[in-house]
């Protein structure tokens, strides 16, 4: 169906979602979507509000297991029934809401659910030390390791959420709108980080509204529309307008009429 099939490398994908279905009551939020991700690659997942991007990603992060479909990691079928399963497979998620416990400090949030212990009790000093290292890599100005994250700025909270995802040697990362709440400088920092993680061989699903972000950072772009996959395209083969057309009209570029394209340009 895709007119310009993205070059499918011969390697086995790091993560593959096959024919995923999710329904909420009668609403089909995700209907038969298949996408994949390779090591060291960024795949942009785009679509309008309610297109099913986040729901699809939540099946991979274990927040909402799919009603039907298959998930493969390194070619092996896996069952991801809860977030713990996903983390055990090296799949980490940075949620759009950040999913931080606001009353806890940064180290407690970074290690939430995976606390370091020693002698029968939590080893807070070791967790703080590790947190200082990983956050220092993201934001050298970060100093508030003892305050509840509620009192931190948006960028600092984002840093905590990212630190949590990258500290545990993730193989695949899901970033849901990672720059939505950030200023220009912080956005640039996140962009650098994504490039760095990519060079380390981590595969990243980048969910975003911002088409320019996606074009900047990803190799391939998967477009969703009303729960369906419109298509996955190679970034170098398409223009932003064509991708916008896919997002807004739910059709691959070749199916667009010249009139529709003209309307897109407004």
């Amino acid at each position: 169906m895709a007119p310009m099939p993205a070059p499918v490398p011969q390697r086995v994908p790091l993560v593959e979602l096959r024919n995923i279905h999710v329904a909420f009551g009668g609403v089909r939020a995700v209907a038969g979507v298949t996408i994949d991700l390779h090591a060291g690659e960024v795949v942009g997942v785009v679509g309008g509000n309610g297109a099913g991007k986040t729901t699809l990603m939540r099946t991979l992060s274990g927040a909402r297991p799919p009603d039907a479909g298959q998930i493969l990691v390194n070619g092996q079928p896996v069952t991801i029934g809860n977030p713990r399963d996903a983390k055990a497979l090296g799949i980490e998620t940075i949620y759009q809401t950040l999913a931080l416990a606001d009353n806890l400090d940064a180290p407690a949030n970074v290690f939430l659910g995976r606390e370091l212990t020693g002698g029968g009790s939590l080893n807070d000093a070791a967790m703080e030390s590790a947190t200082r290292k990983v956050i220092g890599r993201l934001n050298p100005n970060f100093k508030n390791f003892k305050t509840p994250v509620l009192r931190l700025s948006g960028g600092q909270r984002q840093a905590v959420a990212i630190a949590r995802a990258i500290h545990f040697n993730a193989r695949a990362l899901i970033m849901d709108e990672p720059t939505a709440a950030l200023g220009p400088a912080e956005t640039a920092q996140v962009h650098n980080l994504i490039k760095q993680l990519k060079s380390e061989g981590i595969g990243i699903f980048l969910v975003s509204h911002d088409i320019h972000d996606v074009f900047d950072l990803s190799e391939r772009i998967s477009v969703m529309y009303h729960g369906r996959l419109v298509g996955t395209v190679n970034k170098n083969d398409v223009t932003t307008d064509e991708v916008l057309g896919m997002i807004i009209l739910g059709k691959p570029p070749t199916k667009l009429t010249s009139q529709e394209l003209a309307e897109l340009h407004g």
Binding site: T93, A99, S121, E128
Partner: protein, 453 residues
């Protein structure tokens, strides 16, 4: 599940002008000491509560003509605070996890009744083992604690896995457990209890006293002081090892000295309270010594020792174990806790089971003190326990609260009640005052917290 943020950040509705002015002036008056306070790294909220308690104590002492701060009254106050304090430690975790347990008073009654039956009827009669066995007290206590975990855990199960709000489940529990007492006790009082068990209540039976006595009390105080100093040194070393800032030496010494002073001062007060004359005479005769001129010191009461142990255990569970970390995380953001892979349901159920066990410990203290189980055991205790936790700084929006704060809250509550009893204030007026204090304490706290954030 909505993601909600603990109050403070988004609170737009400001307090009334005059109140705000008072708070502002208080804060500016405290400004000169805020620097040194920061290097002490002590919780300013706790400090505020200690100050409030000091005001209450001194005021009552003046009005009562020196009776309130007598060793006798303080000793009794410590025993009265113990039973509420024991349960308040568990209530902190329940409220922190965004739940509530309204059934603690009825659970206490039910468990106290069962423990009384166990030691006074089932062991001696049904099992035919006889009264006053050396193991009776501990077996009874352990059975009570286990049953408490089951009863509390059952409520927690319905809350966590059944999805019924804890307010409703424990409101039901409040009726059910109380109803069960009446069903199977049929209005009877179970008495007398095992004499060793009675020691848990801090009373006296013959020459046996439910308190540590003079030298064991001092020894306990010394052990606690050594432990405090040891923990401070260990924490300082650990911070140094990881290169974290440590507080200045003068602050370290001051905090340690104040903490040890409070501990040893408490022991001194407890030892300043002599045994009743007739008990002292009997004890002296048993030991073959003359009664010393100042009488025989009572020492720290067993209920207080139990409260100390419970406080240590629950503080450890709450701050040094994954269980506690998860309780706080769930209170801060339940959705985030679930997404982090925490088993939210299991954690909630365990918190309720712990609450049930603590109700059993309190039930043991209360029945032992009464030397009987009556059908009204623990009536309205849930209100005192919740008030203690809340006065102690536990926030109903979840995620915030400390166990030592709740103990302090329990002492504040009991100080008010005990002081008013001393001043012959009638019971309805007491309730009115306690009610006002509860609302005012939380109101002021919210105000201060808003200012800070």
């Amino acid at each position: 599940m909505g993601v909600s943020v603990p109050s403070g950040a988004s609170a737009e509705t400001g307090p009334a002008g005059p109140v705000r002015a008072i708070v502002t002036s208080l804060r500016s008056a405290l400004a000169p000491v805020s620097g040194p306070l920061r290097s002490l790294e002590v919780d300013t909220r706790m400090l505020g509560m200690v100050a409030a308690l000091a005001v209450i104590w001194i005021a009552f002492d003046i009005v009562s003509g020196g009776t309130f701060l007598s060793p006798r009254n303080l000793w009794n106050l410590s025993v009265q605070s113990a039973s509420i304090g024991i349960m308040a430690t568990g209530m902190v975790l329940i409220i922190v996890s965004r739940n509530i347990d309204l059934s603690v008073g009825s659970m206490l009654g039910f468990l106290g009744y069962t423990m009384a039956m166990f030691q006074a009827v089932w062991i001696p009669q049904n099992l035919g083992l006889g009264l006053e066995q050396p193991y009776t007290w501990i077996v009874t206590l352990l059975v009570g604690i286990a049953l408490g975990a089951v009863v509390g855990g059952l409520q927690g199960f319905v809350v966590a896995y059944g999805g019924v709000p804890s307010f409703i489940v424990t409101l039901g529990g409040l009726l059910i457990w109380r109803g069960l007492i009446f069903r199977y006790a049929q209005g009877q009082t179970i008495a007398p209890l095992d004499t060793t068990f009675q020691m848990l209540g801090g009373g006296t039976v013959g020459t046996r006293v439910g308190a540590l006595g003079e030298w064991p009390s001092w020894a306990l105080g010394a052990v606690i002081c050594v432990a405090i100093i040891f923990l401070m040194i260990a924490s300082r070393r650990r911070k140094r090892r990881y290169g974290f800032p440590v507080r200045p030496m003068w602050a370290e010494v001051l905090v340690g000295a104040v903490a040890c002073g409070v501990v040893l001062g408490t022991v001194w007060v407890a030892n300043s309270y002599p045994l009743p004359v007739n008990v002292a005479a009997a004890v002296a005769e048993e030991r073959g010594i003359p009664v010393p001129p100042g009488g025989i010191p009572t020492g720290v009461a067993f209920p207080v020792v139990i409260m100390l142990i419970v406080t240590l255990v629950v503080t450890f569970l709450g701050t040094r174990r994954r269980f506690g970390r998860y309780v706080y995380a769930i209170g801060g953001n339940p959705e985030a806790a679930a997404l982090a892979g925490i088993n939210v349901r299991r954690t909630i159920m365990l918190a309720f089971a712990l609450m049930g066990s603590l109700a059993a410990v309190s039930a043991a203290v209360q029945t032992a003190r009464l030397d009987a189980a009556v059908t009204s055991l623990g009536v309205q205790n849930e209100l005192d326990v919740i008030s203690a936790a809340v006065i102690g700084g536990t926030s109903f929006s979840g995620g915030i609260g400390t166990v030592p704060g709740a103990i302090l809250g329990a002492v504040v509550m009991q100080s008010l009640r005990s002081g008013m009893v001393l001043l012959l204030v009638d019971s309805p007026t007491q309730d009115i005052v306690v009610g006002i204090v509860l609302v005012a304490a939380v109101g002021l706290d919210t105000l201060f917290r808003r200012r800070v954030s």
